[in-house]
């Protein structure tokens, strides 16, 4: 299989990336005073965590347009646990992920048997189901949503403060950015490791031929559910942090449009590349922001550019790397 030993240029690339994210970006913002960039970049980091999950479902050959449902669910789990049970945000974070993973197992068992367009359609409906559920349930407080959620408190182990109380911070924007960035880095590390370990190889076998995969002894039903659960775990995590940032959640916090976007991020970045969804999120989210100067033409230009990109680079932006390699 692809050598999983890390080559020197790749290691340098990763280092450069980390320096960029954790040193250069904060330095740039401090210099220019563009504090609003923190919000944008935090969003990009979180959205790319959810998109990483969608990408993993693509990797087993399923088009997932339902990640918004898990982001919403994760957000509500965290919000409810914090406001109604007084549980620390830091504990609700993994709980939100685990809850989403558990829900996705129940949903995934029946629907993951579907393939292609059928699976895609069902997942598309999921986001809407999640929204309506949030509207209807008493615990989610209907259309009024849950508001005034306190900022993440202190995280300490054996009296040692690891993360200070966000409310006491002078600059919670930076803290949120760093938190989202760390989560993003860890998520993609996990994803990279999955793809380059046996689990990923089996996912690939599933993507290419489920029958053959079963005949070499792969428990295909179990593997599909496992990949989908990991995917939904990421969705739940991202949702929970979004809620912590906005300190509120409504049934419409994540809608079908968000689910579609997650899928587009993956497409645009490249389905064959682990870091595709991260790049796709950055480009599309920033692209949309930058195009706001075009006023009423914003959507037109944005969609036109999307279509053009998909025609020119059907395998995603990262496929440019391969092309260059091919010419050598």
């Amino acid at each position: 299989m692809a050598p999983s030993r890390i080559s020197t240029p790749r290691l340098l690339g990763v280092l450069a990336f980390l320096v960029g994210v954790f040193v250069l970006v904060p330095a740039f913002i401090a210099l220019t005073g563009r504090w609003d960039f923190y919000y944008t970049l935090t969003s990009v980091a979180l959205l790319s965590v959810a998109a990483a999950g969608v990408w993993l479902t693509f990797y087993i050959g399923r088009i997932n347009i339902g990640q918004g449902a898990y982001a919403l669910t994760g957000g509500y789990v965290s919000a409810i646990l914090i406001t109604q049970h007084g549980i620390s945000f830091w504990l609700t974070l993994p709980l939100a992920g685990v809850f989403c993973a558990a829900v996705s197992v129940l949903i995934g068992l029946p629907i993951l048997r579907l393939r292609g367009v059928y699976f895609a359609m069902v997942t598309l409906v999921l986001t809407e189901v999640a929204r309506l559920t949030a509207l209807a349930l008493p615990i989610t407080n209907g259309a009024k949503g849950i508001t005034s959620i306190p900022l993440p408190g202190e995280l300490s182990i054996f009296g040692l403060t690891i993360i200070p109380d966000f409310a006491t911070l002078e600059n919670p924007k930076l803290a949120f950015y760093l938190m989202a960035a760390v989560l993003m880095v860890v998520t993609y590390l996990v994803l990279w490791r999955i793809v380059n370990s046996r689990l990923g190889h089996l996912c690939r076998s599933l993507q290419q031929n489920e029958e053959l995969s079963a005949s070499i002894g792969v428990n295909t039903a179990m593997l599909r559910v496992l990949a989908y659960a990991i995917s939904s775990f990421f969705g739940g995590l991202a949702g929970a942090i979004f809620v912590a940032i906005s300190q509120s959640i409504y049934p419409s916090s994540f809608v079908v449009q968000d689910s579609v976007n997650f899928m587009l991020y993956c497409f645009l970045g490249g389905l064959g590349y682990v870091f595709g969804p991260m790049l796709g999120t950055l480009l599309l989210y920033f692209g949309w922001d930058l195009l706001s100067v075009a006023k009423e033409y914003q959507l037109l230009i944005y969609s036109g550019a999307l279509i053009a990109l998909m025609l020119v680079l059907p395998n995603g932006v990262l496929s440019l790397l391969d092309r260059k390699g091919g010419r050598k």
């Binding site: 370990s197 689990l199 190889h201 089996l202 690939r204 076998s205 079963a214 002894g217």
Partner: protein, 261 residues
């Protein structure tokens, strides 16, 4: 005859009003090469699918080493040692030949998926072993030259061989080959025939195969089961089958009247 390794007992498969297999029974001895023949649509692939767990018999059962395997999902049947290759050339298209064979060693992993995730020493040992075993299989099938080719670029003959390599990687005791010589010319077929023999002689496999190429079937088989319209009409050695009036009739009634050599 020694105790059978595989027993097909009264297997019937109905699809709505169509009976694809009707009360088929036969035994397979260990390390036997047994061919299932019959005109197009006779129900041969359906029979193989039932043995390998892809299709559950409507009635009847398949017994492997004394245990009922019919009705189990394919991955469980594969784990027990009964593996099927496909009539259509079925491979993992966008992997290289070597990757195809390595991934097919899945059944033999001793490390857990979590172990593979964290790169435990067992996982590393497994990977090394799979790589070595994959190379052995590639050498065995004479695929050295195309080891690193992407499977989707391969010609038909190589794809068939790769399909067999994938089957072998699971280390089966019984391998079901569905039309392994299809799309091959005479020379390629003869090479494959020799190879299937070596599967039995060198690797101790029991081989069941479905094939339309009669000269090849006659050459390779210890015994032959002939089915027509879903029913077993004959069973015996190649010589017996060739002389069987019901078999001749079945084949004369169809387009390929090539039961002779």
């Amino acid at each position: 005859m020694t105790a059978p390794i595989l027993q097909v007992k009264g297997v019937t498969k109905r699809y709505g009003g169509l009976t694809a297999n009707n009360d088929i029974s036969f035994d397979v001895a260990p390390q036997e090469i047994l061919s299932v023949i019959g005109p197009n649509g006779a129900g041969k692939s359906t029979l193989f699918k039932q043995i390998a767990g892809f299709v559950t018999p409507t009635t009847g059962e398949v017994i492997y080493k004394g245990t009922k395997i019919s009705g189990l999902p394919p991955h469980k049947v594969a784990r027990m040692g009964v593996v099927r290759t496909f009539q259509e050339t079925t491979i993992f298209k966008s992997m290289t030949v070597r990757e195809n064979v390595i991934v097919s060693h899945h059944l033999r992993s001793k490390a857990s998926l979590l172990g593979f995730f964290f790169g435990s020493s067992q996982a590393k040992a497994d990977e090394a072993e799979f790589g070595k075993s994959a190379d052995d299989i590639i050498d065995f099938l004479g695929l050295q030259a195309i080891r690193n080719e992407t499977a989707s670029n391969l010609p038909q003959g190589h794809l068939r061989a790769l399909g067999m390599a994938i089957g072998l990687a699971t280390q089966p005791e019984v391998i079901l080959l569905d039309e392994p010589f299809a799309g091959m010319n005479h020379d390629e077929t003869m090479r494959m025939v020799a190879l299937v023999r070596r599967l039995r002689d060198e690797r101790g496999l029991t081989v069941l195969l479905v094939e339309h190429d009669m000269p090849a079937v006659m050459k390779i088989s210890d015994r032959i089961v002939c089915i027509n319209f879903g029913e077993k009409i004959a069973e015996g050695t190649p010589a017996e089958i060739q002389a069987n009036p019901r078999v001749i009739e079945a084949y004369l009634g169809s387009e390929d009247a090539a039961i002779g050599m």
